[in-house]
């Protein structure tokens, strides 16, 4: 889609939502309308001017949308064709239904509150598609959220899977959120003297301390779990059509379409092991573009190292003896 076409579509969609809203709310304040629809006062003027040009046959003066704008309030008449907003598109219906179902699945949500009743009405209007979001509740989720809410330090015992080690830490929690199927605690860790991301289901014990901590103005909400740093090496992968998910799943620097549905995906990688896992899993669906990636990375060496685990390359199977 060209950019010009996207802009035109965006404007049309805004006007198709704006007209029925103005019809339903005669005498609305201009400032309120502009704020609701996220547009400037000038843009609102342009939109209203455009509405004056919209009509139906036989196009007598009474067949055009009538805009009454006294500089402060707006009233719309004769907008019968657009008296209601258009149906939700597939992406719109999915976005709002899935978001609502997800929030309703968050532990602590009111299953009989306004969100639940709004979703029931919405699902009904969409033909009641069977769609559900499940979000689990790890044992220490509630206390972690309480710590964020009250800005109190939290003492945790945290299990690190890769080292099978438990550590005791005091953290200042900034946020708790659910992403990629797990709950995360984003906190400043005293022990590390840095911001850390903890998986809530790996917190083995948690206790709220009486110590309050000030709000941290430097803290910014993460946009993705994995945040590449600007000086991480870049790697370009040529993937076949069946591995296009790579560009969706990881924050890509760039994605170029190639022949037969393939793509050249450029990523930043902070550790070689991440790239090794990705390339070995993708196998014949991906190849690393020569000259990119960390200098100590070689798909061949990685594959040979894992192959060595299998002993002779015949694949002969000897079951190791149990204790």
């Amino acid at each position: 889609m060209s950019n010009g076409r996207a802009i035109a579509e965006h404007e049309i969609q805004r006007i198709l939502a704006l007209v029925p809203w103005l019809v339903a709310n005669p005498g609305s304040l201009r400032t309120d309308v502009a704020q609701r629809f996220g547009i400037s006062s000038e843009q609102l003027d342009q939109d209203l001017d455009l509405m004056l040009m919209v009509g139906v046959p036989p196009y007598t003066p009474g067949d055009y949308i009538d805009v009454d704008d006294d500089g402060e309030t707006i009233t719309l008449r004769m907008a019968d064709s657009f008296r209601r907003p258009p149906q939700l598109t597939g992406p719109e219906g999915l976005a709002v239904l899935a978001a609502g179902r997800a929030l309703l699945a968050v532990p602590g949500s009111d299953p009989d509150g306004p969100l639940a009743s709004a979703l029931a009405k919405l699902a009904d209007a969409l033909g009641n598609p069977n769609i559900a979001v499940s979000i689990d509740e790890p044992p220490h989720l509630a206390i972690a959220r309480e710590a964020v809410e009250e800005r109190r330090e939290l003492q945790i015992t945290y299990w690190t899977a890769s080292r099978d080690a438990q550590t005791n830490r005091v953290v200042q929690p900034n946020a708790v959120f659910f992403a990629e199927g797990a709950w995360y605690l984003d906190a400043w860790c005293r022990r590390a003297d840095d911001d850390r991301l903890f998986r809530v289901d790996r917190i083995r014990a948690a206790q709220l301390t009486p110590t309050k901590f000030p709000s941290n103005d430097d803290w910014v909400q993460r946009e993705t779990l994995y945040q590449p740093r600007a000086n991480d090496p870049q790697v370009s992968l040529d993937v076949t059509a069946d591995a296009r998910w790579v560009g969706e799943q990881y924050p890509a620097e760039s994605i170029e379409d190639m022949a037969q549905g393939g793509q050249r995906i450029t990523l930043r990688v902070s550790e070689v092991a991440f790239l090794e896992r990705l390339v070995l899993r993708l196998g014949p669906s991906a190849s690393v573009v020569k000259g990119t990636g960390p200098t100590d990375f070689s798909a061949q060496q990685s594959a040979l190292r894992v192959l060595a685990r299998y002993g002779a390359t015949t694949g002969h199977n000897t079951m190791p003896k149990p204790h």
């Binding site: 992406p91 899935a98 709004a118 799943q249």
Partner: protein, 310 residues
């Protein structure tokens, strides 16, 4: 652009006339009524085609029918198909949806568009509570379910044509639950592994069983997705990597210490391709012991990478 009439103005007028009419209108009737179409017949036809595409891309249900002259196509939009039903949302309900769209990251642009239509409200700057994954095929799958249509797509390099029943978001992924008439069974597919843009076919023909009358469980692990016979798998892990594996495999998996210090982890799986991907994620810290065909396939998989890269 003719006579300074913008595309936005022209398209809005086309939509107005299509909604206003009680009969099917020919292209000539539309383009001669609406201001802004080029004089030349070829350019006019092309512009009208583009405007029609713009409207359809936004989800406007333009329907067609051959006209009485037997030559031209007639167009109209039924208001009942076009208008969003009034949901009669209370202020609290509108605010709750607004919070949901703001606090749950999915596709903020589509969510924001929906809010404007539903209640004339915008997203707010609420802190993020949950991020749901997206997949390019998701919106089309959702549309097919809504339309009770069949869905054709490519999955793990194989073409499938199924009756989509339900969507589930679990463990950070979207799953499609569908009936596959070719095998006569209910199957589960990962939405992010659909390789192409699915095609929606034969709307209104799929009978979706009532909710609760069919199994919507996803199974305990990604390696149970896609159907097929369950097989026993045994993987030897270096300590402590078996702990991370057990955490992901769930309570069904068992673990046993081996003489060489490693741990044998056993579980059942239907998709050996998914197990291969899982095991390779542990690099040299995991070795498939059983079944033999999985062991062989991992070895040849790795050998092909080693050969290609040399």
């Amino acid at each position: 652009m003719a006579d300074g009439v913008s595309k936005v103005e022209r398209v809005l007028n086309v939509l107005a006339i299509l909604l206003d009419t009680s009969r099917f209108l020919s292209r000539a009737e539309i383009t001669s009524s609406v201001v802004g179409y080029p004089e030349s017949d070829v350019a006019c036809r092309r512009t009208f085609e583009r405007d029609k595409e713009t409207l359809r891309a936004m989800g406007v249900p333009i329907i067609t029918q051959p006209l009485a002259d037997g030559v031209d196509t007639g167009y109209r939009v039924r208001p009942s198909d076009y208008f969003l039903a009034d949901l009669h949302l209370s202020d609290d309900e509108a605010a709750a949806l607004q919070l949901a769209v703001s606090a749950v990251a999915l596709d903020s642009h589509a969510g924001a568009g929906a809010l404007l239509k539903l209640s004339g409200t915008q997203t707010t700057s609420a802190p993020l509570i949950a991020a749901l994954p997206t997949a390019p095929a998701l919106a089309v799958v959702f549309d097919a379910i809504r339309q009770r249509a069949e869905l054709k797509f490519s999955y793990r390099n194989k073409s499938r044509q199924v009756h989509p029943w339900a969507l589930r978001s679990e463990r950070g992924r979207w799953y499609l639950i569908a009936f596959d008439p070719a095998v006569g069974e209910r199957r589960t597919y990962r939405a992010d592994r659909i390789d192409d843009v699915p095609t929606v076919l034969n709307p209104g023909t799929v009978d979706i069983p009532a909710e609760g009358t069919y199994d919507t469980s996803i199974g305990d692990a990604p390696w149970d997705i896609g159907g097929g016979e369950a097989q026993e798998v045994c993987v030897a892990f270096d300590a402590p990597h078996h702990l991370g594996a057990l955490e992901r495999l769930g309570p069904e998996a068992t673990s046993e210490a081996l003489q060489d210090g490693r741990y044998a982890v056993r579980f059942s799986a239907t998709s050996l391709g998914a197990v291969r991907s899982f095991v390779l994620g542990f690099l040299e810290h995991a070795e498939v012991i059983e079944p033999p065909e999985l062991r062989e396939s991992i070895i040849s998989w790795l050998q092909s990478i080693a050969d290609v890269a040399s």
